[in-house]
Amino acid sequence: VSVAAAPGASVQASPPRGGLIGALAGTDHKSLGARIVVVAFAFFLAGGVLAALIRTELLTPQLDVVSRQLYNALFTIHGSTMFYLFIVPMAVGVGVYLVPLQIGATGMAWGRLGLAGFWLVLAAGVTMWSGFLTQGGAAAVGWYGFYPLSDVPNSPGIGTDLWILAILMAGLAAIALAASLLATVVQRRAPGMTMLRLPPFTWTIIVTCLMIVTAFPALIVAMTLLFIQRQFGGPYDGSAGPITYQQLFWFFGHPVVYVGFFPFLGAAAEAVTTFSGKRWFGHKPFVFALLVFAAGSMSVWAHHMFTTGAVNNRYFAFTSTLLLVPAGVEYFDAAATMHGGRIRLTASMLFALGFFFTFLIGGVTGVWVASPPLDYQATDSYFIVAHFHYTLFGGGVLGLFAGIYLWFPKVTGALLREGLGKVHFWLTMVGVNLAFFPMFFLGQDGMPRRYPEYTGHPRWQTLNDLSSAGAYVLALSLLVFIANVGVSLLVRRPAGPDPWGGQTLEWMTDSPPPPHNFDMLPPIRSHAPLLDRRRRPEGAA
């Protein structure tokens, strides 16, 4: 064991090691967070390759690229990778890196638990993807693996079992990382950093972690019972079994959408506030709205089950529609922050604006499917695919890129190229809308999701081709981003501690931050301590 401690209070048994050793066993929140982000991004690219294969298959009405079984496996592992291996680890990984910095801490609490979380994510990814190497192929049951489709008679083969075990590991990883982050916020805040002085991003991580530690246990239970069912039978036997599985699964399955949304709302909020030159408007109402939003999103899960007839549709329609109120508060806060500000349209700010625009489409169509009569029409159609991709890509990926362009200089010490960043942004916006907007029309016209062929409906081909073209544009946009990262790291433009005029504590320290994070901290009087410092320097009357 190698130990070190906080500045001024530390006992360092041996210096922290970087390189391979640090990558294997280091618990420093910065290297741990960076590792989680890189691994999650790698899974995002892998899941994206599967999406490209799916879209290539759908270019023509016939089945001509993959078999039906492989197509089922492709969309299953695509969805599973994006949820369990990308968006959730990415959400907490960004938090692991930034939360200790934003709260003025020297490190993360329960670092070993966080380290275990990282390795569980890796193990989950290897386990899930190894299904492709098995005789029956990878799991082909959809990312939610409904019972009895996921039972042995309907889905024989080891691939489904590996998928279940992988989800168990990924779920445990998320809980471990979320618990570490919550403990960090509880125990490691700097003097003066009260809860209401925490920045917007840290607050979004808090509610995300609350949702993870309270909702993900339902996933663990659902998957454990499913594994037992497949091995021995029992837990889901009987007519109530499929509904019980769905209740357990969706109790996790809806909050996970918000787990993939809130941290990136926080990232977009930090980008908006930084590049508007103003503090975040209505911080206290924002915090309250976040808590209400998160609690509400724990109470809407069965809108995924409207058509089963086994849940109380009126209640879930009511709670699902109620979510508009806190969402509206957040949009209002963002608009009011920009109002009257000195807006700089950097790549980060553009992605933040794109985030709010794109998520709005996902949100508005969410109101649509929150209404049971309309949901009956749209369920299991491409309308739903369009809706949740607008929600997750708009609410997740665009916000993530707003954060990456904002914090990349802090993490690496080098600025990303703004020109390439803007090319990346516009390609992404074109790609997202070209890929997902036609799906609304396909869904309205009755095209079911998960079908690789549509030979009886030749008029769907144009819309599918547009959608596939959008997917390729998205792939191109990612190549531009990767090129941007490569160029920026190879030909470095030093960022300095605070290249943007940031307002939160992470901009107080070097880029990248030293092992102990801070040499000194300013007085903390609000959620924007560096803005306070610029406007009211220490010692000023």
């Binding site: 209070a9 069965a302 209640y315």
Partner: protein, 116 residues
């Protein structure tokens, strides 16, 4: 919401209110429908209790030794992952993973003793 335990408790209360509205007004057909939010609220209550009992370290901290490298954690985690996969692959992997996990556990004990 000035303290973490208040935040956790408040959030748990929101969940209780929503579960109660469901139970009392909408009369759900399935007990899971209100039992799950109620269980989540209970989990929040537990978190609030932990946060209340283990508050933030004060301004004048004692020298604190923290782990910066922990091979034992990696070994334990991978051992447990192997045990899980072993349930599908075979008993041999369960046993192997169990042995590795035990080694990791002993390593954690060693780390803990070194930190004291």
């Amino acid at each position: 919401v000035s303290r973490p335990w208040v935040v956790f408790g408040l959030w748990g209360c929101f969940l209780v209110v929503l579960a109660a509205v469901d139970w009392l007004i909408f009369a759900p057909p399935d007990a899971l429908q209100y039992a799950m939010p109620a269980a989540a609220a209970a989990g929040c209550g537990l978190l609030a209790l932990v946060a209340l009992l283990r508050p933030r370290a004060g301004g004048a901290r004692r020298p604190e030794r923290v782990v910066v490298l922990s091979y034992a954690t990696v070994v334990l985690t991978l051992g447990l992952a192997a045990v899980l996969v072993g349930f599908e692959v075979g008993t041999w992997l369960c046993l192997l993973g169990g042995g590795v996990a035990l080694g990791g556990l002993l390593g954690l004990v060693r780390e803990w003793r070194q930190l004291r």
